[in-house]
Symmetry: C2
Subunit: 217 residues, 2 copies
DNA sequence: ACTCTAATTTACCCGCGAGTATATTTAGCC
DNA sequence: GGCTAAATATACTCGCGGGTAAATTAGAGT
């Protein structure tokens, strides 16, 4: 049964609106559940680490059995990948949001930093930071790398924009982007959600530090 | 790892086979061999990750069998811990070195940053950054936490010193230390030893960035 | 009522890898 | 050479956990 796919074209048959509505509902339902699986995995990974979390653990937390998890996700690796992607998307969204802004490069960069900090303190943040290509198949690893690179390029573009509009001084664009990303990513290592410090506040101090520097002006 | 470890992260690949190679002429130096085990483990962990490295792998790289590894080390966890400690020691040394200096706080901080970058690009760097309390027993985890905290406190002390001697402007000491440590630790994620950029150069740019900030002066 | 599929479970397999009991080799020593 | 202890090897155990086959239930569509 699992291997055989005899009727492949049945979903294609035209049907009335009613059918589509309920099919749509079922699809949405499935997606909702799949998301729940991924979010639960993200929390578990964050709390105990990827390798210290078994799929049985995740299933148990969902009040379900392991094969059910496999019904929504191909394997453990993909689970990690999805968490990864979810986290990266949050950041990417922040960058894209600033594409339309007309403020200075420095201000746009500050806005991106704020969203970045927000993303990194989410459950997906940990996965994003900790998920090493080492735990992913070559294919997945390539995808992750490419997504990360997109973000890196986005940040560099903002720095360049700032330099050319005069809001950011001349600097090593690459190292600056790395330092920024590093400081931000590292938040995932020390941040505890019960912390008094909200992500927004952290971002504020980081922006202050990176804009003004340590040396008195 | 007793004191004398490679300060420059020169190719330390020679750790393994040579010591065991010639059956007749080998020097039986327990300490040395133990260090070789730890260094080999560090390299393996860095290359493939802690959980993706078996003790058989490490043994093989040393041209030895698993029980031999166990002869020098209690278990896998301790191996990770030792790598950890070795890395942290490199950084701690850098901090301690500046205790006697009489320059400004800002200059001492810059010196510490340079040593920190050096340490983080070593094989132990990866372990230090990646080793999560999650992979360590409560006891080990506590020790690691305490060592990390020592470093954090050391950096904060330098910042305070800088503020009070006027070389560093008033700032959020805690967040500044976190941002710095984050940027530095993150180097372990992107640095490849074949990179053109030496640790010293990275440190230089980081110091520039953190001291002067992005906003034009 | 009946059917067909998607969702979920029960009950398994199996390989990997941490850790070990035990034998064997080697080095130092008298 | 023969004794002892350290060093290393051979050859295991064993449980955890990823993954799966097959049976069962729920539910929409007709």
């Amino acid at each position: 049964m699992a291997g055989r796919q005899a009727r492949k074209n049945s979903p294609q048959r035209a049907a009335g609106p009613a059918l589509w509505a309920s099919v749509g509902a079922r699809v949405r339902d499935r997606e909702r559940k799949r998301d729940a699986v991924i979010m639960t995995a993200a929390r578990a990974f964050r709390e105990r680490g990827y390798h210290n979390t078994s799929l049985d653990d995740i299933a148990r937390e969902l009040n379900v059995t392991k094969p059910t998890v496999y019904h929504y996700v191909e394997n453990k690796e993909q689970l990690l990948f999805e968490c990864f992607r979810a986290g990266l998307k949050l950041i990417m969204d922040g960058i894209e949001e600033q594409r339309e802004s007309t403020t200075t490069g420095r201000e746009r960069l500050a806005a991106v930093i704020a969203r970045y900090a927000e993303a990194i303190t989410s459950d997906f943040g940990w996965c994003m930071v900790q998920a090493e290509n080492q735990d992913l198949s070559p294919t997945m690893s390539r995808k992750v790398k490419s997504l990360k690179s997109e973000i890196d390029q986005g940040i560099r573009a903002l720095i360049r924009a700032g330099v050319s509009d005069g809001s950011i001084r001349e600097c090593d664009e690459k190292m600056t982007a790395f330092a920024l990303a590093g400081a931000l990513n590292w938040i995932a290592h020390w941040y505890r959600s019960d912390d008094k410090l909200a992500a927004a506040e952290i971002a504020l101090r980081f922006v202050d530090l990176f804009e003004l520097g340590l040396q008195p002006r």
